[in-house]
Amino acid sequence: MRARAASLGLVPHLILWGGLLLVAFPIYMTFVASSLTPQQILAGMPLLPGSHLLANYRSALFEGVAATSGESVARMLWNTLVMALIIAIGKIAISLLSAYAVVFFRFPLRMIIFWMIFVTLMLPVEVRIVPTYQVVADLGMIDSFAGLTIPLIASATATLLFRQFFLTIPDELVEAAKIDGAGPLRFLVDTVIPLSRTNIAALFVILFIYGWNQFLWPLLVTNSAQMTTIVIGLTRMIGTGDGRTDWDIVMATAILALLPPALVVLLMQRWFVKGLVETEK
């Protein structure tokens, strides 16, 4: 089979390059645009980056744009980073504990609680938009990191993943630990968590990206420009006709908005792939 493929030789590569172009083209053009002046953009885009790279990014990061009330993109980056980290770490921690309880203990209501967690898979934020917003507002969590993160922190997928993994830990390991004198918490910290390292890394990648790319929820829950995330801020920058759009800054912001998740995927690719595959099982 492989020998045959050699005779087809270039065709797979051509097709794959076609795919690469399709994928990379929008990102590349955005990058090029982020290095030009607005005039250059309007005049018809060249294919190579221009000279305004640093100027535009500096402007975006530190000066902001009128459309976002002058809030700097640096601030938005910070907000998004904090939010994504809290969501990723929070989800992992909470799901780890819940999965541990459900797997390693027998207690009344165990199955009911497990099903309650499981059912949330069928309740993405999009189907409970208004009431969830109401709850957050009632709790006074609007425009706060708590409001941005806590409602998103109970994840069924992470719990299911950990549960699946915990079920594969050999019984004898648990017994050896019992004889060694380790109680449940000790066993969790000394043995279960170290053994879960790759799962945690994989989940972290997926959840960080999930948190960073959130749109609907931050849209609802943040009103003040200071708490805007970069994804929301970006969309606000595009004028709807009456306002002027600083395309060069917009493009720079777009690149900044996709850079961290892209870096995470590129640098932690192995865990990313594992995370994607595992969470769909």
Partner: protein
């Protein structure tokens, strides 16, 4: 399923599940309950009180031509996205499976769209196709097409379909590739010995073995198109022009948050919930055990 060996503990397990349970109750079940409650009540004009109206809201929603349009629109949108994404992903996966060694490098780049937020993807493509500004808009003009998605509903729909599909390529590609790589070489070799050529091997062996993966991806893509494309719609067209890209999830948002029709929006939420449940049930029942890695 339960382990054979467990720990003793009366209060500890409850403490461990408490955080997740608390968040789940406060931010999932309570609002979901609220959604149900709101969906069967109607607010009086001043918003001071509400009265029980049974299924009236649902009836109104389902009788509303805008809503029915939205249903058809969403169905069309999700099917189009699904088809548009499956074919190139499969093709790329088959090619990547062929090259084996270089596959890793191609894979790395092909994973990028997953990292891009739907809203940001919207911005990237919006720019490319912006009338009077975007390079591809110019190109289309040069080809004689009167391109202006800000005014033309069909063009707007086409654009968001392309964007939504673009974003999903990574995911589909990855799963197809994994599926292809899990097909034992010995099967294909046996077929080759039996005299089957490349194309026949693909259609009679590879494709059938890949169909559980494909079915799984169809469901995933439909769910994705229903719910995770909110960012795309909002950033590119905001449902317009003239509601031509208003899919169901966007409508729930618009009616509830912008138009402040709580009853109607909640009824829509409940209907959407039913759709998710149905789709998830299908996913778990028919797909769960069949996809192996």
């Amino acid at each position: 399923m339960q382990r054979r060996v467990v720990f003793r503990g009366k209060t500890l397990p409850y403490l461990l599940v408490a955080p997740q349970l608390a968040v789940t109750l406060v931010f999932f079940f309570w609002p979901a309950g609220q959604a149900f409650w709101l969906s069967v009540h109607r607010q009086d004009p001043f918003g001071l009180s509400s009265h029980f109206v049974g299924f009236a809201n649902f009836a109104a929603v389902l009788a509303d031509p805008d809503y029915l349009d939205a249903i058809v629109r969403t169905a069309f949108f999700s099917l189009a996205v699904t088809v548009l994404v499956l074919v190139p992903s499969l093709l790329l996966a088959v090619m990547a499976d062929r090259v084996v060694k270089a596959a890793a490098a191609y894979k790395t780049v092909l994973l990028l769209p997953y990292a891009v937020a739907p809203a940001v993807a919207g911005v990237l493509w919006l720019f490319l196709f912006y009338p009077g500004l975007g390079p591809l808009a110019f190109a289309l003009r040069a080809l004689g097409i009167d391109w202006n998605y800000l005014l033309n509903g069909g063009q707007a729909m086409a654009l968001v379909i392309v964007i939504a599909a673009w974003k999903q390529i990574s995911y589909n590609f990855l799963f197809f590739l994994a599926g292809l790589q899990s097909i034992p070489r010995s099967l294909l070799e046996a077929a080759a010995i039996d005299g089957a050529g490349g194309a026949r091997r693909f259609w009679t062996i590879v494709f059938p073995l890949l169909s559980p993966t494909a079915f799984f991806l169809v469901i995933v893509n439909i769910v994705y198109a229903f719910f995770e494309t909110f960012g795309v719609i909002r950033s590119v067209t905001a449902g317009g022009p003239g509601k031509s890209t208003e899919i169901l999830v966007y409508k729930v948002y618009y009616d509830g948050v912008v138009a402040l029709d709580l009853g109607g929006s909640s009824a829509q939420s409940v209907i959407l919930m039913a759709i998710v449940v149905a789709l998830t049930a299908v996913q778990f029942r028919y797909v769960e055990r069949k996809v192996h890695y």
